[in-house]
């Protein structure tokens, strides 16, 4: 056998081995339960980094097509607060407000959004709420919220960095009891924080 033929043989064997390995891994996952689909075990850090980058850039590119309102009215912020408190706070908490304890069973874990408006533009926040995030627990809300309501939520997120825990508790008190059938988000507002300002 010539040297060239030997090299060719070695490469084809290596290729074959690689294909067989990939096939074995796929088969192990598909047919033999080799991939653990449990919700809460952590990804290795490089993978969670890659997933996060993919999501960030997907949102940033697609949000370019979304035109955001110039400014939001206090009424929109108020409407957004009601939607946030009844639909979002359970997973995302609020200022001084914890998430529901079961959120610890989600991977990736839903972040607190106190700083969301510093990281994302209005269009990007609209898109995340409207479309949701694949392979996380974030649903697409487009079936539940009208575009106007989604902008209300964005209006509230925009106002969130300026709200203290006491402000949030006050807004809750002003909003009155939650509408029938709507779950109250987040944990309990601490009693001290919900007392009227001195």
């Amino acid at each position: 056998m010539t040297d060239a033929a030997k090299v060719r043989l070695r490469w084809s064997l290596l290729t074959l081995a690689a294909v067989a390995l990939i096939g074995a891994l796929v088969a192990a996952a598909l047919f033999f339960g080799g991939f653990d689909t449990a919700a809460d075990y952590p990804w290795p850090q490089p993978i969670s980094w890659a997933i996060h980058r993919t999501m960030t850039n997907s949102v940033k590119v697609r949000a370019r097509a979304v035109a955001a309102p110039e400014r939001f009215t206090p009424a929109e912020v108020e409407a957004g607060f009601r939607l946030y408190d009844s639909h979002c706070a359970m997973c995302h908490g609020g200022p001084g407000l914890g998430r529901q304890p079961w959120t610890a069973g989600l991977e990736p874990t839903p972040p607190y959004l106190v700083e969301a408006a510093r990281r994302w533009s209005r269009s990007e926040m609209f898109l995340i709420v409207h479309d949701g995030v694949r392979m996380t627990a974030m649903p697409a809300w487009r079936g539940r919220f009208s575009p106007g309501q989604t902008w209300d939520v964005v209006a509230f997120l925009q106002a969130l960095p300026d709200l203290t825990a006491r402000d949030y508790a006050r807004m809750r008190a002003l909003a009155g009891p939650s509408p029938a059938g709507e779950p109250r988000g987040g944990g309990a507002v601490p009693s001290q924080a919900s007392s009227p300002p001195r």
Partner: protein, 131 residues
């Protein structure tokens, strides 16, 4: 090939594998057993820091996703003298703060996260590894 040479070669392989593992364990911050302060398990605490989304509001060394600025960065936490500008940075006070920040400082931005006492001790043990 003599038996002793084969054995030497395998010994070398095992030793180098062990060395690689040791370096990897060092690099990933693997720590075993309870912390010196007897608080909790710092490894479990490090995991809880991710699970409880602490990175939404805090920059935490080695925890890439998150890195929020709403709360203070946690680097060098073990050397800090005061927690939240209120409590001395002692293990008991830290565990109390982690469990009930709204009781310690009503209306502050850090939420009561519903941590169990053991979880709070684990996170405290982890925070004290940040020198």
């Amino acid at each position: 090939m003599g038996v002793s040479r084969l054995r030497r070669r395998w010994t070398r392989r095992v030793l180098s594998a062990a060395a690689v593992l040791a370096v990897a364990a060092q690099a990933t911050g693997c720590r075993k057993g309870p912390s010196p302060s007897g608080l909790g398990d710092p490894d479990r605490g490090a995991r809880l820091v991710d699970v409880e989304a602490c990175g939404s509001c805090h920059v935490i060394p080695g925890h890439a996703v998150g890195s929020g600025l709403a709360g203070p960065p946690l680097a060098g936490f073990a050397r800090r003298t005061i927690i939240a500008g209120l409590l001395p940075n002692r293990p008991g006070d830290l565990v109390l703060w982690l469990q009930r920040p709204q009781a310690v400082a009503p209306g502050n931005g850090m939420p009561d996260m519903g941590l169990t006492p053991q979880q709070a001790r684990d996170i405290a043990a982890y925070l004290y590894t940040l020198r």
